[in-house]
């Protein structure tokens, strides 16, 4: 289980930003929070850190999302660190 709080900076073009929000709404792992201007608070809850990273990567490439910043990450619930980087 992995939970993180992210801040998305949405595109300045309103239709593009809205289309991004529509995409996010359809992802059960994402809870939308308050929007302040072009910045949107979300929480991502996934089954693993790997999945968490996949969601992060997908968010970065979602049309209408310009930046993904991180405000909170919890990673103390069982998964340990990685092994040798080249392993």
């Amino acid at each position: 289980m992995s939970i993180s709080g992210l801040v998305l900076t949405l595109d300045g073009d309103p239709p593009l930003a809205e289309s991004a929000i529509r995409v996010l709404r359809h992802d059960a792992r994402i809870t939308l929070g308050e929007r302040t201007g072009e910045r949107l608070a979300i929480v991502v809850e996934t089954g693993s850190r790997f999945e968490d990273e996949e969601v992060y990567a997908a968010l970065k490439s979602t049309p209408g999302v310009r930046f993904v910043d991180v405000a909170f990450v919890e990673f103390g619930s069982g998964e340990e660190g990685a092994g040798d980087a080249d392993g």
């Binding site: 850190r49 910043d69 991180v70 909170f72």
Partner: protein, 801 residues
Amino acid sequence: MLTVDRRTFVKSAAMAAATAAAAGTTRSFALPVLPGSGLRWEKAPCRFCGTGCHVMVATENGRVVAIQGDQKADVNKGLLCVKGYHVGAILYGEDRLTRPMLRRDGRLVPISWEEAIGIVADKIAENPKGFALYGSGQWTIGEGFIGNKFMKAGLGSNHIDGNPRLCMSSAVTGFLSTFGVDEPPGCYDDLDRCDVAIMWGNNMAEMHPVLFSRLVDRRTRGEKVTIIDLTTRRTRTSEFADEVLFFKPHGDLAIANGIAHLLVRNGTFDRAFVEKHCNFRQLGPASEDGSPPAMLGEPMTFDEYAKAVEPYTPERVEELSGVPAAKVRMLGEMFGRRDLRINSLWCMGMNQHTRGTAINCLVHGIHLLSGHIGTPGNAATSLTGQPSACGTVREVGTLCHLLPGGRVVTNAEHRREAEELWNVPEGRIGATPGYHTVEMFKRFNTPTAEGGDITTMWVQVTNPGQTLPNLYRNFRRKKDLADKFLIVSDVYPTATTELADLVLPSAMWVEKNGMYGNSERRTQQWFKMVEPPGEARGDAWQMIAVSRRLFDMGHEGMKGRDGKWIFHTTDKAGREVPIWEWEHYYDVNVDERMFEEYRPFTRLKHKDLAPYQEYVKARGLRWPVVQQSDGSWRETRWRFSGFDDPYVGKGRDYQFYHSVTKDDKALIWFRPHEFPPEMPDAEYPFWLCTGRVLEHWHTGTMTRRIPQLHRAMPKAYVEMHADDAARLGVRNGEVVAVKSRRGEIDLPVWIGGRGDPKPGEVFVPFFDEGRLINLVTLDEYDPYSRQPDYKKCAVAIVRKA
């Protein structure tokens, strides 16, 4: 699995943090504490780059369990980048080094700390002059101070240098040449106030993403911020830029001179500012022995300066740089406007440059010439890549020519002051600079009988086996030299430990007390939060233990004027604390003890630091930090500016009070355009540029052990333009050889890639220890900063059979 209660709690905490960060700093936000848990939140600066973001670190049962952007931190205002997001996980890679290990019969075998410390002390005692210490901008301030004192005041040797030599020493020589003192006049607040941000070979969106988001965020609030990307390749920063201006390698020298030309020719320079606050300089002639002209040059008049920049017409600049003349005019006109606030930002592109000092001086010069300096939003901002390149290396002075607080070993008065403050006998500190990084490693990698007079090296907190240029020559030859002894203190196995004779396991980040200094003169403090794994111990303790062993062996250098050990430490009752014994190291706060010894050094150059306890309360303070009449301590955001800097004389608008010319004026330099020392030719037809990627920090020793980051960017690659790939007949993902005159490596091709290089250029990131691009790079360096150029050399791309 998380329990429902805990899950609900953590989720609400995550949403609260994100909501507060999205809204800016106007909302109150309380850190989550799970009822009934042992969760404890404490502040720390992020372990990675030089931005200096603050994180809140949650620990529970002796482990770091959560990270949150610190809402109270001015630098990042609650936000973090993807690396900061995962910073807690760097402690928990499965292959952490946990025991000292000595190479015997080719294999590293565990030994005791007692034996390890004895080996290091014996090696130093055998040949003190042949011993060198190589540190980094990841050393804490305390570690750097201990290392510097150990070497310069203890061993009387200046053979101490650090990896910032490879990343920002050209920024140092640029500041020294221009202002007579190191480090930027402005601060990050300039990002919030500028109208125009110019990236000089600087991929800020990926390398300093939190700072870049401060710029982009202003746009989301409806403010107009023009971003100009001067670059050799398209990057993520280019996507946000209003203008993307591609230039040829070393074309930046021509562009800066072109802007100066237009300011002079059009009469749009700030005549009043220049007359009141600036002098002009150029280099003198080269000496007959081939050594470069003196760094601080010779005076020139304004008329001579105007004549020097006269040839840099927009058309000539276009020829030299590739930037269209119309765009050069646009830049010149922009600098000529008083109603715009302009912030130039740079990092490795200008620093890793064989004319790094020159381009740093030229960019400062156009800001001075146009008066775009010293008021909020008008700044020339040098960014750093390591968390304490400024605080430790530049300020504490852990380079071979420096002493703490901006002093230099070649100045007799500076040596005398340092000997006084360190309480060591007069004459202890050597007057000759030690070996700079490339020279130090060259000598270590040269047989002793052939003049390789560095025989033992101790490397701490860095990975030169991956970062040095021309690695065959400068690092890997050691493998065949039996009379060389390499000691490496680190947290994970690296390309450097691979050749080490002795490996010492280190504590890292919140496993120890520490202080860092970031790119905007901000000094930051944190406390130890968790225990290091196994037998790992802090780097500061390691040096202290070796120093004490030498003292016990009767080494005179480890004694002060009073005959006591140079790191003699007492408790509040005045009793000596045996901090050389690990079990007693934390009986006192050694970091505080060292910091208070260091503080008096900082006043000479007006880099005043507050008492340690002030930093405990703050999210960093920007120096000079000066005590007010009410006893409080005030930081300085804009140095040399009368409205903010307490050291500017009363009634003066600006005062460059450490000026080279001793008249409170800064220097505007003329430095000509020059071509790089190695350029593509028929045999090696491509330009090679190297650098970083968003997911990995430097050599990847920490970030490659974080599964998410490793998966996102697992291996290095060579980015290539589609036209070049088609001409060579290579497909995406095909492995090619990247060859230079120095070496070669195999890499998969990424057509276009993230950076989308121009035809004739390729880019390779340096984070991958399995694919060492520095086997290929050039070890030519700037003659003043001695910083190598990793951004341009000539290579061939060869298809594999």
